[in-house]
């Protein structure tokens, strides 16, 4: 019992040490400084273009100062800042929609893609239909979605779900068909049943493609969510951006955009992290770890 505990602590220690080592290593490399410089140049240009030079196209734009000032103000002029509960309510509304749509897209898209890849007969039936529906932009579904679901909430979710689902299913199918025939043969040689082959060869073999699909999926989910919220939302970041436009509160638009960028970045970073955790073999193949 004690040995187990000390083993766990040892592992925890070494993990901490590893993180510290990696951090020290990355601080010694030029990458983080270059990234900071990139941000500084972008923000500097924004400030100069709007407030100092007042370039033709930028004159009406919200300035860096106005946006940041409002964003961190306890009493924002345009009503939305880090200190107002509405800000988080909007984030949560969007996040909830994306997570629901993403979860449903994964739960349906992965099995469908697996079936496409695994069963040629099934693919012949369904794939042509799938390929016609897939290129229809989510926005084109808006009117039908509203008719179909009556309420706005469900139709926004549906519009968010659809492209995420297509991306996941398609990439999963590619993943299954990318598996080298000799792995399948090897499994059969070694006595694996069809189900065991599926579990031990097809699923892990398709995993890198599935995770690529999930990355794309969450990206397009955010994309179409905002479109949906602009047209049919009553809450959420897309709604914030759109009402910012109609109410001429321009700094709010930018606050909404930046927030979208941050939340979107974090959500795909989490998927990347989970993928790397689940596929240590793949990370090692690519020389990322070990």
């Amino acid at each position: 019992m004690e040995m187990v505990a000390s083993g766990a602590i040892g592992r925890e220690d070494s993990r901490l040490a590893m993180i510290r080592r990696r951090l020290a290593l990355s601080l010694r490399s030029p990458a983080p400084y270059l990234a900071l410089l990139g941000f500084a140049l972008f923000l500097g240009f924004w400030h100069l273009a709007v407030e100092v030079w007042q370039l033709p196209r930028f004159r009406a734009m919200p300035s860096l100062g106005a946006v940041v000032g409002d964003w961190i103000s306890r009493d924002p002029i345009y009503g939305l800042s880090l200190f107002t509960p509405e800000y988080y309510a909007h984030i949560w509304a969007s996040l909830r929609r994306v997570l629901l749509a993403f979860a449903l897209a994964t739960a349906l898209g992965v099995p469908l893609g697996m079936a496409f890849g695994w069963s040629p007969a099934f693919r012949r039936y369904v794939f042509p239909l799938f390929e016609i529906l897939r290129p229809i932009p989510a926005l084109a579904w808006v009117p039908l979605a509203i008719v179909m679901f009556h309420g706005t909430e469900s139709s926004v979710r549906f519009i968010t779900f659809l492209p995420a689902f297509f991306a996941t299913a398609l990439n999963t199918m590619l993943g299954v068909s990318s598996i080298d025939e000799s792995y399948l043969r090897a499994a059969r040689c070694l006595g694996a049943s069809r189900w065991q082959t599926f579990r031990h060869v097809v699923v892990p073999g398709a995993m890198p493609f599935i995770f690529t699909g999930l990355q794309i999926s969450i990206g397009v989910a955010w994309f179409s969510l905002v479109a949906g919220e602009m047209l049919a939302g009553e809450f959420g970041l897309g709604y914030v951006i759109y009402t910012g436009y109609t109410l001429v509160t321009y700094p709010t638009i930018v606050i909404g955009m930046v927030t979208l960028g941050l939340v979107g970045y974090v959500s795909s970073a989490i998927i990347r992290l989970v993928g790397r955790r689940l596929m240590q073999w793949h990370a090692r193949n690519l020389g990322i770890e070990g």
Partner: protein, 280 residues
Amino acid sequence: MNTPCLSRPRGAIRIQDVVKVYDPHGAAVTAVDHCTLDIAPGEICMIVGPSGCGKTSLLNAIAGFHDITSGAIYLDDRLLCGPGRPQSEPGADRVVVFQNGALFPWKTVLDNITFGPLVQGRSTLREAREKARALMADAGLADVESSYPAQLSSGVRRRVEIVRALMNDPSVLLLDEPYRALDSLTKSMMHESLLQTYYRNKVTIFFITHDLEEAIFLGDKVVVMTSRPCRPKKIVTVDIPHPRDHNVLTSRRFRELMDETMSAVHEEAQAAFAAGEREG
């Protein structure tokens, strides 16, 4: 139950008048043409022939990856495929080691090696691991068990793959040019290690190659195949006694056997080359 039956040697392969025609109602390409061949239990049978001559079709028929058009193949008097049963069911009594290697990249070496007995439900995890570690120690692979295949050199990967096959106590190992992609130095190391493994675990080995030196060094019997369609052209019995090591390569008998076989191989290589030119 897990110990192989030692009293009666297993792994006799009888290939009887086998024909394999691809796309019989269309282009009708004959890959294997009335091929008859007997392989004794525990024999190392080397199949030599030009690339694309149909050797692999024969291996696929034994392994159960492809059907045959006519003829029959028996393993220890059991019909694998033949009349009324064009394709045999793949099984762990005939394990294939593939040309480019087929270790599962997502499993560690140990999990790869224990895969066979575990999916067959032949042994518990503990038994399988014990046996795997014993075989790995014999093969000098003791320290790679928790590595992933991509972290290993190609030579080590091939050795792991042979161990993975042997875990199932197969009657036959089917090797399809397993050392093709290796450099010559690694290749000769692989040959000696394969022989060492063979001396510890006598199985029948059906080994496809187009490297004549490899064929004579490893084989008890070298079967030179004709170029497409494929059928035995010349069977050479290699009478160099086991155990063999690299010194065999410079012996007179080895040279004589090389000379004896070379012209047959050369003729077929030329025929294959000419056929390729015609098609091109």
